[in-house]
Subunit: 445 residues, 2 copies
């Protein structure tokens, strides 16, 4: 993309309403614009990162064998009356009447609707196991929306639901989700720690929250410092293997790690003192096993191999897709701006032309742009007639991991400058070498 | 995908509520499930086609230089009070109050919100031209939703908005949209004819609707039969060229083609009688130029090169993404089921194993599956223990363009059968030849 043809409305001033750094940076980098309290438009740069995150979530869900669907944002209240949650849910549920006076709501979650889909079609244990998921907009009418996309009212979430014959099968689905979530967050450059949590209005006994450590997190968390050394990495895993998934769960959840809701001082004190940590965390996902809560209430049953009709065991599993942008920025920025992890960056590489209009510099930039594009990368070329300082400030603010700087002086010596956003280190090299290095970095992801 | 791991709830009976063939087939093929009147869940097969259509729309929009954003589904009523449309819009607008009693609405279209985004950031003619678009869910509270996704209440639409300094520039944006729409529909296997139309509640003078001819269309249309011979094909076009875009517009709109709203019998009668046609059509898109209607009402102005503050010229341009599934099926089916055009098919090729459990047949199917996948294609392998007849019926119903049938008898002679869904013709050939042929077909798209 050439910046002259893009829409990147960066702000010079820091918006007064933003209390936390991710919100400030998303506004300043022209990623989002508030349209009402807790409701945002995604401007081109923000939309691009949102789509990248969505794509990673899709890929990892499908790798785990989960099947994508898409449910509508508006639901009939009748489904929620069946489960008993219509009255229970409280003021966070946005209730709506249509022109015929029928009670509807903007879905805050979808246990009822997916259970209705399941019971409409599936009757036999032979069709199990089954995990359906979607990435769709939700609405929760927060009393006090804040922190930008971190606690918005209209937000994008991946919600997945497993249907299994037995509790054991459902626990495998639970473990499989835990494994796939570890992979998902790591691909985004995040360390998200699974912590024992409270089930809240979803219900159920088994639940883990995934938390990213950050000073601005809304939850207080307590953990054994050994847990931050764990990495899923690029290990191969067979998602059908009960043993393999169980082993990963054990590895990542056997050490103490809890939110304040489930924190137990006595148990925590068994951790050696030098490893005890308390910090703040941002919740970026949660997995639940809740058994037959919804399947019994709503009659989602299958016939087993003994011809008995039994309610299916279910769980639900969420990733806060839009909130992840905030979490990633909270975890990865400096005082100049955002530092995107390579896995989610909106553009792979910036190109800064120090002397727009100079024939040689323009030609070199065009050539770099073409080479990067041909290699399947998506560069952002700042081709505006602006001072170098303004161009650098924009690139630093929007946080592309790599930048190639092109100027007449360097070109005389046959070099351009390749700069790493994270370390700030620059290296002079031939244009082709810079392209080769950037291509190599993204290939290795 | 292996069918045993997929969720494809095909129905044997024809649902009573469906009045038109696309609705019937989408229900029978397990693509959608109604959740409330005019509101649907997209089951895996339907979701996959929806995503394919979305992808084509994105690619063609971006090829034309348009920049993607994403606006929220819920909007503040205040914006619509500025344009005067809040009161005008009538009962199709779903009005909502949030917990604090603020008036909101579920966006039926987004002229106000995009104009608000524009005026918040853009002040200078130097930042023009600009076209922003999104693909987002909309809601129109139809009094009598019907025909499945063709006239639903919650529906997915691409809506794009151009901002230009002059009427001439805005007309170029109009023409550019017309060209990109022709490409878009052709890639989906559709012939959509631009017809002079009425502007309705959007306002404006210049507008064309794109109509797909089909018996079940809701509009009566009148046209010169020469128009159905036009094809955009794979011609190269420079979207920045005013002349090239203008020439395409003239080629595709100079012959008589109007909906009943703008039909003029006297003008129609000037077409030679043997070329006069009346038929029914499905509206799948519309482009508008409406000048300064919204920019004046909402103060979206820029400073021009004479330092004058002037309102921008705008247009809006829509493609009915979810409705396109219905339109494509209306245009492409037979009495056995859907016939997907290759550009949008949910899976590229079906694999039918005539004797599941037979060692040789299973191995041959696995190998075909792997070869197709390695070539970047997405096959659907029916690996269920079902009779051949049931497998064929499912494949015909869900409409994959190509099917490879594998049985022990053929394998003895070293052949499988490649069948074209559209013609019904089958050919015996070596498995590798079948793969090569299917790969070649999709490469040539």
């Amino acid at each position: 993309m050439r910046l002259s043809r893009y829409f990147l409305p960066v702000l010079k001033e820091t918006p007064a309403e933003a209390q936390i750094v991710s919100h400030r940076l998303m506004l300043r980098a022209g990623m989002i614009k508030q349209s009402s309290a807790g409701i945002y438009s995604w401007l081109p740069l923000g939309y691009k990162v949102l789509r990248n995150i969505e794509q990673i979530v899709h890929e990892e869900q499908q790798r785990a064998g989960h099947v994508p669907v898409l449910m509508p944002t508006l639901q009939s209240a009748d489904l929620w009356r069946e489960s008993g949650r219509y009255e229970d849910y409280g003021e966070e549920m946005l209730r709506i009447q249509d022109r015929h006076g029928r009670d509807m709501l903007y879905g805050p979650t979808n246990e009822e609707m997916i259970t209705d889909i399941f019971r409409s079609y599936v009757n036999s244990y032979k069709d199990l196991p089954l995990t359906l998921y979607q990435i769709q907009w939700k609405f929760r009418d927060e009393r006090r929306p804040r922190f930008g996309v971190m606690r918005g009212r209209e937000f994008l979430m991946k919600d997945g639901y497993n249907f299994d014959l037995t509790k054991e099968d459902a626990m495998h689905a639970y473990n499989r989700h835990l494994v796939s979530y570890l992979r998902t967050y790591e691909r985004m450059g995040l360390q998200a720690i699974p912590m024992r949590a409270d089930s809240g209005p979803i219900g159920g006994d088994d639940t883990h929250e995934f938390l990213v450590l950050a000073e601005t997190g809304e939850s207080e968390v307590f953990y054994d410092s050994q847990i931050t050394d764990l990495k899923f990495g690029d290990r191969e895993i067979d998602y059908d293997s009960v043993e393999q998934c169980q082993a990963v769960l054990e590895e990542f959840t056997s050490r103490y790690a809890r939110t304040d809701e489930t924190h137990d001082e006595a148990v925590f004190n068994e951790v050696p003192e030098e490893r005890r940590r308390s910090a703040r965390g941002i919740e970026v996902g949660q997995i639940f096993y809740f058994g037959t809560k919804y399947s019994e209430a709503m009659g989602a049953t299958v016939i087993n191999d003994k011809q008995e009709q039994i309610p299916v065991h279910m769980g639900s599993h969420g990733i806060g897709v839009s909130r992840l942008l905030g979490a990633i920025i909270e975890a990865s920025h400096d005082d100049k701006g955002i530092i995107w992890p390579e896995g989610v960056t909106p553009f792979h590489c910036g190109i800064v032309n120090l002397k727009q209009g100079d024939e040689e510099a323009d030609a070199a930039c065009d050539s770099l742009y073409q080479q990067l594009t041909n290699a399947g990368l998506d560069p952002l070329y700042d081709d505006r007639k602006e001072r170098a300082g303004a161009k650098f400030a924009t690139m630093d603010l929007i946080g592309l991991p790599w930048r190639i700087t092109v100027g007449p002086r360097g070109l005389k010596n046959g070099v351009v400058e390749l700069t790493c956003r994270k370390t700030g280190e620059s290296e002079e090299m031939a244009p082709e070498a810079a392209v080769a290095k950037v291509v190599e970095i993204y290939k290795s992801l």
